[in-house]
């Protein structure tokens, strides 16, 4: 499908252009999500996109689906309600590193634990962009932010490891540089039955970049290219060799009972007992 056809079919064109800054990675991620939805062949009428608060969470407003722009950090909680009320719907959550890992961290681990059939795409730009450049739980330790004028003291999360440990059954990491891989990773997540999670390493030249001497989007994308190591290559490297790098690709996949299916069995059992 051409870009024009994709835009016509999947976006609310009257809502464009978007509000994101020049050089922001969010448009690339939204484009990848749209291409992945198309590639996975989801039923547009039966797909719901849920977001929280922040730059990332404005994406659903541009997308021609049923869209729910919720409160800060709570996208997964709302999405859980949508999915449970109508399990036949495909529910996608678009969120950011602050939204999902800080204020929404509890919902993330519990949604993963339940293995409920949601596909979560995290726009990880290492910073709170909407509020003007404060550090998030994913800001690399020692980086600068408006609230870390001397560098961050906090250690940063590996969100993929967290979700894997919490019980997520599809975990992947992509970047805004490796866009074809990103589309495939999201598409595979959409096709996976259970809690699927894709972290997207993205760039915020406006706030993270300016504070950390990465002055252009191109420089930040080049940083991604130089520091990302595909899963297969990473398997051959020692922890020492991987220091300072990050692994991209499908990191974890596991088959496990999906929450709404298990609940449907419970309903059948409860109704059977009634007879």
């Amino acid at each position: 499908m051409s870009v024009e056809e994709l835009l016509e079919r999947y976006t609310r064109r009257d809502k464009l252009p978007h509000i994101w800054c020049p050089g922001c990675g969010n448009g690339i991620i939204m484009g990848a999500v749209i291409r992945a939805l198309d590639q996975a062949g989801v039923d547009q009428k039966k797909t719901v996109i849920v977001s929280g608060i922040g730059c990332s969470s404005r994406a659903p407003g541009y997308m021609k689906f049923d869209t729910l722009h919720t409160t800060h950090g709570r996208a997964l909680a709302y999405a859980t309600g949508v999915k449970l009320a109508r399990p036949e719907l495909k529910v996608v959550v678009l969120t950011g590193d602050g939204d999902c890992a800080a204020i929404g961290g509890n919902h993330l681990i519990h949604a993963a634990r339940r293995n409920i059939d949601l596909t979560v795409v995290v726009f990880n730009n290492d910073i709170y962009g909407m509020t003007g450049g404060q550090y998030s739980p994913l800001t690399p330790q020692g980086s600068y932010a408006t609230t870390a004028p001397y560098g961050t003291v906090d250690r940063n999360f590996d969100l993929c490891e967290l979700v894997k440990a919490a019980g997520g059954t599809y975990v992947a990491r992509g970047t805004t540089y490796h866009t074809r891989m990103l589309i495939d990773l999201i598409s595979a997540g959409l096709g996976h039955k259970g809690f699927s999670f894709i972290e997207v390493v993205s760039q915020c030249p406006m706030y993270y970049g300016r504070k950390n001497k990465l002055t252009s989007a191109v420089a930040m994308l080049e940083w991604q290219k130089e520091h990302a190591v595909p899963v297969k290559a990473a398997a051959k490297l020692t922890p020492e060799q991987l220091k300072g790098k990050f692994v991209i690709g499908e990191l974890h996949r596991q088959e496990a009972p999906e929450y709404t299916e298990v609940y449907a069995n419970l309903v059948a059992r409860a109704r059977g007992e009634e007879k």
């Binding site: 809502k15 547009q44 009428k45 039966k46 719901v48 849920v50 659903p60 407003g61 021609k64 689906f65 049923d66 869209t67 729910l68 722009h69 919720t70 409160t71 709570r74 997964l76 909680a77 709302y78 999405a79 859980t80 309600g81 949508v82 999915k83 449970l84 009320a85 109508r86 036949e88 719907l89 509890n106 919902h107 681990i109 519990h110 609940y263 419970l266 309903v267 059992r269 409860a270 109704r271 009634e274």
Partner: protein, 383 residues
Amino acid sequence: MANDRRAQLLSGNEACVRGALAAGVRFFAGYPITPSTEIAEGLAAALPKVGGTFIQMEDEIASMGAVIGASVAGAKAMTATSGPGFSLKQENIGFAAMAEVPCVIVDVQRYGPSTGLPTSPAQGDIMQARWGTHGDHPVIALMPSSVRETFDLTVEAFNLAEELRTPVILLLDEIVGHMRERVELPPDEEVHVVNRTKPVEGPETFQPYKPGPNLVPPMPAFGDGYHFHVTGLAHDESGFPTGRGQDADRLVRRLHAKIENRQPELARAEEWQLEDAQIVVVAAGSVARSARAAVREARERGIKAGLLRPITAWPFPEKAVREAARRAAPMIVAELNLGQIVREVERVSCGETKIVPLNRLDAELITPAEILERIQEVAAHVG
């Protein structure tokens, strides 16, 4: 679940469960907290049997979020909590008000602030029910004082939420939630049930926040093919965010008007022995039970007392209180807090009569004897 006419012994919380089922609840998300937990337990057992869904979420905030998500997907949805949990839910209650998502929140009030005296009775959340979430928002809060009324007002809470597309709060207190009474519940077919209005228009021209009759926009469900946007941002009739102050002004005023226009029928109070009353006791929820006994006792002693019992905490029954105040009978406002209902009584009565607060804060209920004593004190002055 079919109700039969035989008398049953039920608690307020159990009656709430029965009322929710009669009203057609299909989704409950909650988090354990005394003294509301029996509502979650009851629905955990009952909902699967009617094909509904129960989930115990990771916290109170998530419960409220899940309820809103389920409602947007078309389910009649509710949660139940108590003081501290009610505080945690407030942000998302504001979302439901702003995005006009029907839902019912039960708050079984307990002693606060903070963890307080778990889980002794109080009526300390009356103002939280009104002003708990930030910004100007309308609210409906119902305050039953018996087990049967808890059933009826739970049904009504769902009906109002669905009809007006708004969160509705059912404000129990620990005494009403936990006390048991003999009740006869109506069979399901005799329960009046309201469902939200779905759009008649097709998706092409549909404006999700274009008000219909009564200023309430029709509401499709996610998955119906309308591709609509729901946000807590100020939005115009298309449902999309607007940066324009005039649009926000129009929206927030409409949100208020859709409920305020209904004030005459919505705002309700029970008036008992008020016609010739020289002293009026104002009391709601469990306190109204003691107040009724005190009024009866006072009358037996020749004091013309009466009871004015707010059934809706919000909208506050202004007309009934104002009329009582105009008769210039002193008003004793009895409540299990340091004075919340009394502020509304003072505001509405505009200094037309003497107002005597009666408050208790030692985690015990207000007894009929205490209210009677206060009636006698006031009567001595009146006489």
